[in-house]
């Protein structure tokens, strides 16, 4: 996403973002959020252009981007599975779901499959604790997950030849 034909990061896509936050106080975090919305992660070129346009040190932009768990400096998979490991989900067996996913796709928390198809993450609490354990596949929140239902769902959504 957000790349020109030659594969370079298309920085002009950031112009409307800078325009939108031109007058706002403390715009760094919303700008990073919009940038990640455009490029799906934060490429180094984008961090540089943000630092330049806001007139702050690149180190500061990098410091903020690495502080918050929402920001990614590496590309992520086409599909993202987030398993909630908040207290309620933890008590109700996130670990078992994770083992099942790891077994099927060979990637654990924070990892992306080699073909870039799937990223697996654990998150602390999505706030749907009464439906624990909760899994989120590409923004679809699914409650009361059992490993069978989760894997079935994933097999349907991901490339069929992908699962082992």
């Amino acid at each position: 996403m957000g790349r020109a034909d030659n594969g370079a990061v298309d920085l002009s896509l950031m112009d409307p973002v800078f325009e939108r936050y031109r007058e706002q106080k403390g715009p760094l975090i919303p700008i990073l959020q919009r940038a990640q919305g455009i490029y799906s992660y934060l490429p180094p070129e984008v961090l540089q252009v943000i630092a330049g346009r806001l007139g702050v040190a690149l180190g500061k932009v990098y410091g903020v981007a690495t502080f918050y768990s929402q920001f990614y400096l590496e590309p992520r998979g086409k599909h993202v599975l987030r398993l909630c490991d908040g207290t309620a989900c933890h008590v109700k067996g996130t670990a078992i779901l994770m083992t099942a996913v790891q077994e099927e796709y060979g990637v654990g928390p924070g990892e992306t499959t080699e073909d870039g198809e799937l990223t697996v993450e654990t998150v602390y609490c999505l706030g749907s604790c009464a439906l624990a354990p909760v899994a989120v596949l590409d923004d679809e929140v699914m409650g009361r997950m059992r490993q069978e239902t989760l894997l079935r769902k994933m097999r349907k959504q991901l490339k069929p030849e992908h699962s082992a």
């Binding site: 106080k25 403390g26 715009p27 760094l28 975090i29 919303p30 990073l32 959020q33 410091g63 903020v64 502080f67 918050y68 768990s69 929402q70 920001f71 490991d85 908040g86 207290t87 309620a88 933890h90 008590v91 109700k92 067996g93 670990a95 078992i96 083992t99 099942a100 790891q102 077994e103 998150v123 602390y124 609490c125 999505l126 706030g127 749907s128 604790c129 009464a130 439906l131 624990a132 909760v134 929140v141 699914m142 409650g143 009361r144 059992r146 490993q147 069978e148």
Partner: protein, 654 residues
Amino acid sequence: MRIMHCETYNAQYVLEEEDRMASIEAEALATAREEARRRWEAKTSADVYVTVGTGTCGLAAGAKDTLAAIQKEIEKRHLTAVIGEVGCVGMCSFEPMVEMQAGGKDRLNYGQVRSGDVPEIFASYFEGTPLKETVIVGQVVPTVTRRNGHALHSLSFVDPETSEKIAFHQKQLRIVLSNCGLIDPESIDDYLALDGYQALETVLTGMTPEQVIKEVTESGLRGRGGAGFPAGVKWGFARKTQNWPKYVICNADEGDPGAFMDRSVLEGDPHSVIEGMIIAAYAIGAQYGYIYCRAEYPIAIRRLEIALEQARELDLLGESILGSGFDFDLYIKEGAGAFVCGEETALMASIQGERGQPWPRPPYPAVSGLWGQPSNVNNVKSYAYTPRIIRMGAAWFKNLGTEGSPGTAVFALTGMVNRTGLIEVPMGITLREIIYDVGGGIPSGRKFKAVQTGGPLGGCLPEEHLDTPVDFDSLVEAGSVMGSGGMIVADETTCMVEFAKYFMQFVCDESCGKCPPCRIGSTRMLEVLERITAGEGKLEDLDEIRRLAQGIEHGSLCALGQLAPAPVMSTLLHFEDEYRAHIEEERCPAGKCRALITYEIIEELCTGCMVCARKCPSKAISGEKREPHVIDQELCERCGLCKEVCKFDAIVVS
């Protein structure tokens, strides 16, 4: 007409002009309210009125498909119906929930309605056929409490047979949650129809900021973010600081794992939070406000955006609100995933676009907060209580709950309890009443072990503390805290050492890194806990934990560090025997710690279905079809998958 902030209006004609404007705009609101009431009346008395709960919980359980199925069913039956979306009614274990009302018949709430079950509930409601897949949760009865010529609308569920309140509702008292599940959160009309923004009108037309602060102080409202500081007193501090602009900030960075009270309020009744913030802004003399909401709550953010837009259209935000001369506007700041931003100074740093690291207090935010300006930070619920207190009066609120902690407490009741959900109970109720009467006790006949309140910075309380009254002070006395409202029940299958380790892992991940005692101390403590759960602990480790806890508690700047050892210390205090079993007997009494347990197959119960053998990630299970299987203990990694998939309870942990 009062004069706000620093400017002074002297000219008589300005005042006259403003009074005229005020009456015009107040009239516009009155007209809007009348219209809203008419629409509410029409909607709720429609021939067929159906609502679906579409909070995050409802959606996670499949409410979207249910909603589509309802539309289809209504078309099929050629009904003229009003279909509404409402927020969370609190009974998350019954989601998706559907409410039906038609032609003077009882209003009934059906639980666990998947899309395929929709024809069934329609047939049951209209033709009286018996239900197979779904259950009737209760008959919905609107309730109204009146005081001061104002009303608080809510709903409660009764058993259609006996007309008594259902068990889940019997001990609840809904104030902050009164609108949740009742109104459409995306409709300002619904909020207006049920007296929304009436408190703001009262405040702007007839109260001085000092009177507002006095009223809130007299109500005894204590901040619902966890610390329990009196809200009115806090507002008073910010009012006193002579420095403009001032800010009001709503802390909606509900980061505690196991807590979703604030999310439900924002998703189910966003206008109440906005109204509370405008009133607080008026009281302290603030011009700008921020709602700092965590990014993990996209639905809450969307509904807030809609609500802000609607409020602006009706002149409830912006310049000279309702013609009063009071200017205030409100913005949403989306968090970026950092638990520490729930700490007020870290939160403000984050709004400023910096790393969310706390700064030392004093000066307190009331003196120097956001961008060095006086700021007032309160939790979502504290603001949501405010309009209700103004409407119903301080005395009404003060009389609810206990003397030291007036009002109600909102909890996200989760974990090993039969009726999980969002509950609101009067302060002073006991933990036992919450877990057994409201929550319906522990499932599968298992034994209660502990209840955890206050999230990763709170504590666990065992059986002997179950009669502790729930209020800010009693919970602290018992060794836990109220926190912002997470309540997680653990049963005998929960290992308390592993539970403590989980919280310490959380603190390690979320420590902002500013103070070494928190950053390094939590890592050291986690290492000790890892050792113990791996069966490699020594008795000296228990003293090491206590020593580290002292250092972390006293050497950290913010509440995250200061309270980080609390979950570990409370488990060590109440469950030292479990720690000792891990260390001295290399045994995990709950059967959770992988290094200390073995899984075995009971020969007599195993049918040889081979499911476990197929599922085992380490291929440790072998056996012929229809013959009892065995687990190779050398290969077994104790993941528990086999026990999970076995339909015959043939696999046991020892």
